[in-house]
């Protein structure tokens, strides 16, 4: 078939040069992803005694390893299912109805997603933990000595945190797709005698399948590689692969086992992504999508209003209560600190915030919130620059050279960093980037490089559909009017994806702002980021340290919320794939 989609206005020479666009992102992935990862695997296995295969097989047969792997799949599957259950009604509401406050609600549901795991864990702890509002209230009310409600260290805590985190993925991915789905398809089914349930099962669900699948894949990968949530909320009896890698590598220095676990994680991600790509090709239909203005209506009957009201209340409860309780908790001292003799009872205070500025332990590695935030912002800025620089050419190639063999191979590979253990990668950085010519141990670039690996797949996922959605005719028109390929890109592609570009930039920024696993491993102790500082406070005992952790979490929460609101203002009409 004659394909006019790509390569408008190309001369034979530019045609040969364009594939070189792959060079930059590939070189980056090669040096900062595959090389460290390969090296750490090699180092790990060289420590193993006996033949490699035998070692691996023995490890895989150990009941403890099986339990960890089994639990990781189990909790990820269950979390994904629950997330879909919560997210789909929300997606429907956002897709088909307009109502007051919708944009604000939309922005708010996006806030959890970019919250650092530590903050989320702290927020749930502040609400439901043994020192949380719920338990304190119950203890006060019934005069109990012990917190009656066990939340921390339960599977419920893990599942709830995962749902809290990832519901927005379902609501956005499925909701955006649903919003553009022609409502007349289900109307046609109704006219032909299908009731609501039949219409959903036979028409809406099959048409939504690609979007639901895409969302489920991402949610599963996030739940599968979850680290902070499990570490803090799950407690010692729950261990996922990622947490186990951390224990094995850092605490027990059992690198071979850590490597095997990291490979299991990688293979799962790769396998899922490949299955996903296959299924997408089978499930995707050429749809005539319709603008939202034609598919959305107001809530009109009282029954619709009631259902929408309940749903909104539920979503607000799920998304806002933990965050608000975190914010409130940071201003209230409920119990005396260690060694504090005179405690006048629970009171509102700025003590936690004030203490953040005091280096009370005379620590060498102390940083004030301003300093930590400045460090975080600096790293985040670097991450944005790097991930856009790398993501834009990759996305352009994926969008315009969809059928090329290279694109087809690289498409799933680009998702790999998302499913890679941050701990493993951090260790890889430590063993590979420590000698010339790549001696980056003390370089301020090291952290942005690590963060870019996480942000890069996001940037590619949100830019590719935007670039793909540009009508080829616009490029043809520009070319006919005399624009060279670069002019076409600059004058057509770039302005049309400006919004998607901004959205990816803010995503990269907030991802970097909240990243903890890799930062903790490879970051310089004298330049801690905000999450690292939060973790330091959390891991020290006492009410003051806990309060400081919560106060600093609140600062980070406000910073990320502002970022999310900026995204929300920028998004108009275009669907991002994440």
């Amino acid at each position: 078939m004659f394909n006019l989609d790509a390569g408008v206005g190309e001369t034979p020479m530019t045609k040969r040069l364009v594939p070189l666009l792959w060079l930059v992102p590939l070189a980056f992935l090669g040096v900062f992803y595959f090389y460290p990862l390969g090296t750490i695997f090699q180092v790990s296995f060289s420590r193993a005694e006996g033949s490699l295969w035998q070692t691996v097989l023995e490890m895989l047969q150990a009941p403890s390893v099986r339990r960890v792997v089994g639990f990781t799949y189990y909790q990820a599957g269950l979390s994904t299912l629950l997330t879909l259950l919560v997210g789909l009604p929300g997606a429907y509401l956002f897709a088909r109805y307009t109502f007051r406050g919708k944009n604000l609600l939309r922005a708010l549901t996006g806030v959890p997603f970019v919250m650092p795991t530590l903050v989320v864990a702290a927020a749930f702890d502040a609400l439901l933990g043994s020192r949380g509002w719920l338990n304190l209230g119950l203890m006060q009310l019934f005069d109990l000595a012990e917190p009656p409600f066990q939340f921390s260290n339960t599977l419920t805590a893990i599942l709830l945190a995962h749902v809290f985190y990832n519901t927005t993925i379902v609501m956005r991915l499925v909701g955006d797709f649903w919003a553009n789905l022609d409502p007349r398809l289900s109307q046609a089914a109704r006219m032909l005698g299908a009731n609501r349930w039949q219409t959903w099962r036979k028409v809406t669900l099959p048409l939504l399948a690609p979007a639901i699948l895409a969302a489920a894949l991402l949610v599963f990968i996030f739940d599968f590689t979850s680290f902070g949530v499990i570490l803090i909320l799950g407690g010692p009896q729950f261990s996922t692969i990622e947490v186990e890698i951390y224990y094995q590598a850092i605490s027990l220095f059992n690198l071979p086992l850590a490597a095997v676990l990291a490979i299991i994680q990688l293979l799962t991600t790769l396998g899922l992504t490949v299955i996903y790509t296959r299924l997408m090709a089978r499930l995707s239909r050429p749809l005539s999508l319709r603008p939202k203005s034609l598919t959305q209506q107001r809530l009109s009957t009282w029954r619709q209003r009631l259902a929408a009201g309940l749903l909104v209340a539920f979503l607000l409860g799920l998304f806002i209560t933990p965050l608000v309780s975190l914010g409130v908790r940071s201003f209230v001292q409920l119990e005396p600190d260690r060694g504090q003799r005179t405690f006048e009872g629970p009171h509102v205070t700025l003590a936690f915030y004030r203490a953040l500025w005091q280096n009370s332990n005379q620590s060498m590695f102390f940083a004030s919130p301003a300093e930590a935030l400045a460090t975080s912002m600096g790293y985040a800025g670097g991450t944005v620059a790097l991930s856009l620089l790398l993501g834009l050419p990759a996305a352009w190639m994926l969008a315009n050279r969809q059928q090329d063999l290279v694109s087809r191979i690289l498409d799933p590979l680009l998702m790999l960093p998302l499913g890679t253990s941050a701990v493993t990668l951090g260790l890889g950085f430590i063993v590979t980037l420590n000698r010339p010519p790549l001696d980056l141990r003390t370089s301020p670039l090291l952290i942005p490089l690590a963060h870019t690996l996480v942000a890069f797949p996001f940037v590619v996922r949100s830019l590719t559909p935007a670039l793909r959605s540009i009508q080829p005719r616009l490029r043809q028109a520009a070319a006919v009017l005399g624009a060279r390929p670069w002019d076409v890109f600059r004058s057509v592609d770039l302005p049309l994806v400006a919004r998607a570009l901004l959205v990816s930039a803010v995503f990269a920024f907030t991802i970097s702002l909240g990243e903890f696993g890799a930062t903790a491993l490879v970051g310089r102790p004298d330049l801690p980021t905000v999450p690292v500082m939060i973790y330091r406070y959390l891991s020290q005992p006492g009410a003051l340290n806990y309060g400081q952790a919560i106060a600093l979490s609140t600062i980070l929460m406000v910073a990320t919320t502002v970022g999310m609101l900026l995204i929300e203002r920028a998004r108009v009409g275009e669907g991002a794939e994440f």
Partner: protein
């Protein structure tokens, strides 16, 4: 009574009235066209009859039964959408079979009916084609087959030919007429195109701004439009302002007899064949501004009289046709008297 009755339908969207008291009746087997400009509320009316949208007031009655509380899937009204809304995840057979399956018909009946209906719409053997491999005209036929297969009480078509090119439209219009007549299918056809309405409909309901302004056979609508709006809408654009005094009207082009007596300011309708060119017994002159060849006839536009009133007339193209720029003498044949409309109606435009 049997058939479809629409009684006093009111609907507002965001405080704006879209339908303001629409009523009409349709006999079983009748083909009714709802004709009106875009935005007149005709598509909303279809959605209300289908049960997809609820009216604020008014009733939809089928065979004496009030359908107001009945959900769309229990009405058995067929609706063919503007750009078809074919299910993209099903092939042709599954699309056409959908309604039959939803009605719980046994498998062999479904298969037989699908085959018969595809034959009827001229697509035999298309069963296992994917819908996105079909051309626009083929998709339209599949959509028609899908709507017809469950033998709906009323078949409703919402501008079904809107997105097709002219040659295909004419072909499909003929086929559609044939199919509907053959099946004696009660049909409600929504369109903004008078030609489509003339071709298909037994009667036409003309709508304007959420109201029914005239109901009649195609001939009645064209010969006796009841307002300047309907006249303009069916292509009768020669409206001349004047002052009526009993059975006569005084205009800038002279005094003419009226079809019925009137008083005060009116506008009168000059039919496109009312001009006699080259009549030397008249002092009525005009300048030809444009001549458009239309096949059998030519459209001659002139600016007539001292007020340069724009008029257009049709002349058989085998006669002598004036050229653009010519000054021509002509007379007006008022026949048994000119149709007139009050000015108020026109000022609503």
């Amino acid at each position: 009574m049997s058939g479809l009755s629409i009684a006093g339908i009111h609907k507002t969207f965001g405080g704006k009235p879209v339908l303001a008291g629409v009523s009409f009746d349709q006999a079983p087997g009748e083909v009714l066209a709802v004709l009106g400009p875009s935005g007149c509320g005709k598509s909303t009316l279809l959605s209300i009859i289908a049960g997809l949208v609820l009216p604020e007031q008014g009733k939809v009655i089928w065979d004496g039964q009030d359908f107001s509380g009945i959900p769309p899937h229990k009405r058995n009204f067929g609706l063919m959408f503007q750009d078809y809304a074919l299910f993209p995840h099903m092939n042709v057979r599954a699309n056409v079979a959908f309604g039959l399956r939803m009605h719980g018909l046994p498998k062999d009946v479904v298969e037989k009916t699908v085959a018969e209906t595809l034959d009827l719409v001229g697509l035999p053997g298309f069963d296992s084609r994917d819908v996105h491999t079909l051309s626009g005209g083929e998709q339209q036929r599949v959509a028609l087959a899908r709507a017809l297969a469950p033998q709906p009480n009323v078949l409703m078509l919402d501008e079904p030919l809107g997105s097709l090119d002219r040659a295909l439209r004419e072909q499909l219009l003929e086929d559609l007429r044939e199919i509907i007549r053959q099946a004696q299918q009660t049909t409600l056809y929504v369109t903004h195109d008078q030609e489509e309405a003339y071709t298909l409909a037994d009667r036409i309901v003309v709508m304007r701004a959420g109201k029914v302004v005239q109901i009649g056979t195609p001939q009645q609508i064209y010969q006796q439009p009841n307002s300047a709006f309907v006249a303009r809408f069916v292509g009768l654009n020669n409206l001349l302002p004047g002052k009526a005094r009993g059975s006569e009207v005084r205009t800038s082009l002279g005094v003419f007899p009226l079809a019925s007596p009137a008083q005060g300011p009116v506008q009168v309708l000059l039919r496109p064949n009312a001009a006699r060119f080259g009549d030397e017994h008249t002092d009525l002159t005009g300048e030809v501004t444009e001549v458009v060849f239309r096949g059998e006839t030519c459209l001659v536009r002139i600016s007539a009289g001292e007020e340069k009133h724009p008029l257009s007339f049709e002349l058989p193209s085998n006669e002598a046709i004036p050229q653009a720029g010519d000054r021509v003498q002509f007379s007006i044949d008022a026949g048994p008297g000119l149709a007139w409309f009050t000015m108020e109606q026109d000022e609503l435009d």
